[in-house]
Assembly symmetry: C2
DNA sequence: GCCGAGATTTAGGTTAACCTAAATAATTTC
DNA sequence: GAAATTATTTAGGTTAACCTAAATCTCGGC
């Protein structure tokens, strides 16, 4: 196969959904890709028949990436995250705008472009949302931090990363001052899953709902 | 229609081949697009049936762009030339590398991206090869300069632009110091279409063949 | 151990953008 | 002005990536 844009997106999303290493099911993939489940089945069959095989697939039991598939996924993710950072740092994009643009550019840039923006950025290790950027060799650091939701009152640390997929949430986080490297502390938690009170930097404490705390990851000090 | 990448390329190439305003024939389009003539006929029929119509077409008599088609062509050309200049100025690409990369990026960048690189470059008027960059409103300056081939001994001026499609030629021109703005003078011309002797800047005169002089355009002083 | 909800696959299309080969129209040459 | 050459179109495919609707499978709960 010739690794179309569609294939690149399938492999990238499978990588993201695989996370620790579980199998990825058709429905989850279809949802993330905005495609009908039947289309996913069709594409997966092709990816599994390819030589070299890009995914391991057993009917009705989900897919995982092969080494070859993971290599491509990490290339695409490197493109995506380098582009996001470049748009933010060099062109002044706000961090909620970078994902949409990177989603398109990731598939068309050359190795030359990748190398030049990586150099311009000083071979960066994380993107604007705190996600690790794979190296050119396909090595990626483990994602860091614990979900803010899971911290107890009194715990403190620095924001490691935030989910990058919801622009509205990102704008809200920017307003709150929550971004990678910011100091953050849990002041207290209301019982019964109520809001969490959090101090960001040296601002006065804020009440944050679960929708927010689920998407912020903290490197506990 | 939804203006696919393919359509953008068709319109762009029709614009370029139309030049002064003549009709563009199937074969020429097919050659420039690296596509079979039959495919061009098929696509052109769709462009002519579109509402708003993007081309004027009469069987066996070639195509021209409509106003709507030209507007899209100029948008794509603006993207292309801004990207070329950005790659050259901001990322250090050599001028023979920019066309290939711009060819892919031109179809996927957003208006946001266009606006930001245009601003970063100071709303430039020409690309690295001296070609005019259309404005956001779709206004383009007439291409300037006369073919170096057509100058007589003794004529002098500044390089206005060079053809941007042959990377090897561009590397050779760079070696000779021929690029937009450079002072250039015709020392003499050998008869029978022989080489032309040209002084570039204050270098010693060089003999240039027709292959070269056909692709250099000079603003005669 | 069966049942059914939900997940997944199969079957049968569609669309865009190509292709080759054959037919036809236009242009050039004698 | 007919014949030859060249350009263009038509006819009939192909391929990638989707879709909807109709099977079919799996697995948790009883
Ligand atoms: Mn993508
Ligand atoms: Mn990101
Ligand atoms: Mn193009
Ligand atoms: Mn150019």
């Amino acid at each position: 196969m010739e690794i179309s844009h569609a294939v690149e997106d399938y492999l990238k999303i499978i990588y993201e959904l695989q996370g620790a290493g579980g199998k990825v099911n058709t429905t989850a993939l279809a949802e993330r890709l905005n495609v009908a489940p039947a289309s996913v089945t069709g594409m997966i069959k092709k990816l599994a028949e390819d030589r070299p095989r890009l995914v391991n697939y057993e009917r009705h039991h989900g897919v995982t990436l092969t080494t070859a598939g993971e290599k491509i996924a990490l290339e695409v993710i490197r493109h995506h995250r380098l582009i996001e950072l470049y748009l933010h740092e060099a062109l002044g994009y706000s961090w909620d705008q970078v994902d949409a643009e990177a989603e398109k550019l990731e598939h068309v840039i050359s190795e030359e472009f990748e190398d030049r923006i990586a150099a311009a950025l000083g071979q960066p290790k994380i993107d604007p949302h705190g996600d690790p950027i794979p190296t050119k060799e396909g090595v990626i650091a483990a994602p860091t931090g614990e979900r803010l939701t899971d911290l107890a009152a009194g715990q403190r640390g620095r924001v490691a990363r935030v989910s990058d997929d919801d622009p509205a949430l990102l704008r809200y986080l920017a307003e709150l001052g929550i971004k990678p490297e910011t100091a953050i502390a849990v002041v207290d938690r209301s019982p019964f899953d109520g809001p969490m009170h959090v101090r960001v930097g040296n601002r006065s404490p804020q009440a944050l709902g679960r929708q927010v705390t689920d998407h912020v990851f903290v490197e506990v000090r």
